[in-house]
Amino acid sequence: MVKIPVLKSITEANALLAAALRARFAQQDVLVLNFIASPGAGKTTLLERTIEKLNGELRLSVIEGDPTTSLDSERIFAAGVPVVQINTDGGCHLEARMIQAALEQLDVEDADVVIIENVGNLLCPTGWDLGEDAKVVIASLPEGDDKPLKYPMAFATAQAVVINKIDLEPYLPAKVSVLRQNALQINPHLAVFEVSALTGQGLDGWVDWIWEKLAEKRESRCTKCP
């Protein structure tokens, strides 16, 4: 019997590929956001509104992740933005190798911002690094204001949370203020935005944050690198 030391993370292959993607995105000067949310939280609608707000000023590209169908990518294509659809065939999250494959069909060289819409799932996507600059959680009020406490990892690893569907507050037992407080309890560093992607309420602050993240990335770029 011989013992062989391994001392490696099981997901190392994904971590290494994600690091390579991150380096590539840095070289191309593109900001990459990874949208994580439950099914139906409003990821695609928020994306459509974000495109409307930014189009003409910033060049966007989108990678859509869904178990099946190209329904979402058709919506994004209709909004006039280059998009690639990834179907995971039932898989519960996107992985770095899927992003690498998507980049063969999507030219991000000229893009300012790439938004990856992960599979609708508040649990599994948080475990896989895609080489993004920031994870953004979209939490809609009808899901309940206790979700940060029940799914803490999504909120603990994100940089921003967009509280969506705030226009429904009068009809729901859930409160925007409680959702905000619970999210900040899990992660005090979160930037929190209260929006209604449907009515357009509150979107300016969210869009300003994207501008800030992009500026931050470009200004912090190593000037010695080619």
Binding site: M1, K3, I4, L7, H93, E95, A156, Q185, I186
Partner: protein, 147 residues
């Protein structure tokens, strides 16, 4: 759901390190806030390892506690004393309570991984290796003479 692909990644990593030898034991560490359910990994491992050098290997799981670090005073605390409670609940409670220094500026810094620590492999004795090699040689000879 994702345990199937993570088990395949674990198996590939083990086979890659075993250098063609039969694996008898695999030692793993699972963070309490990882995305891995050991029972599921065992279930898929039994299926995926069939016909490989890891077939029948025993999986040993060591659970790692959640670790929280205070960004103000630098104190690191692992939550192993509370191990009887559900891990997600104790993390939420610890974050709400804050650090001993009074700060609530805390970050989750450990207990999220799934790592392979070591493997145990069977090393065939010299006699066994020689006999096997001889057997293969004779088999080859027989096949060529049959042609």
């Amino acid at each position: 759901m994702h345990e199937m692909s993570i088990t395949q990644a674990m198996l590939d990593l083990a086979l890659g390190h075993a250098q063609g030898q039969r694996i008898t034991d695999i030692h793993l560490q699972v963070g309490m806030m990882s995305f891995v359910v050991p029972e599921c990994v065992e279930f898929y491992f039994e299926y995926l390892s069939q016909g490989t050098l890891a077939e029948g290997a025993k999986l040993h799981f060591e659970t790692l506690p959640i670790e929280i670090t205070c960004l103000d005073c630098g104190r690191q605390a692992d939550l192993s004393d509370w191990a009887d409670d559900p891990p997600r609940a104790i993390m939420v409670e610890a974050l709400a309570r804050g650090c001993r220094c009074g700060s609530k500026n805390l970050r989750l810094t450990g207990g999220t991984g799934f790592d392979m620590i070591s493997l145990e492999v069977e090393v065939q004795e010299a006699r066994g290796r020689m006999q096997e090699a001889r057997g293969k040689k004779q088999e080859k000879k027989r096949r060529t003479s049959d042609d």
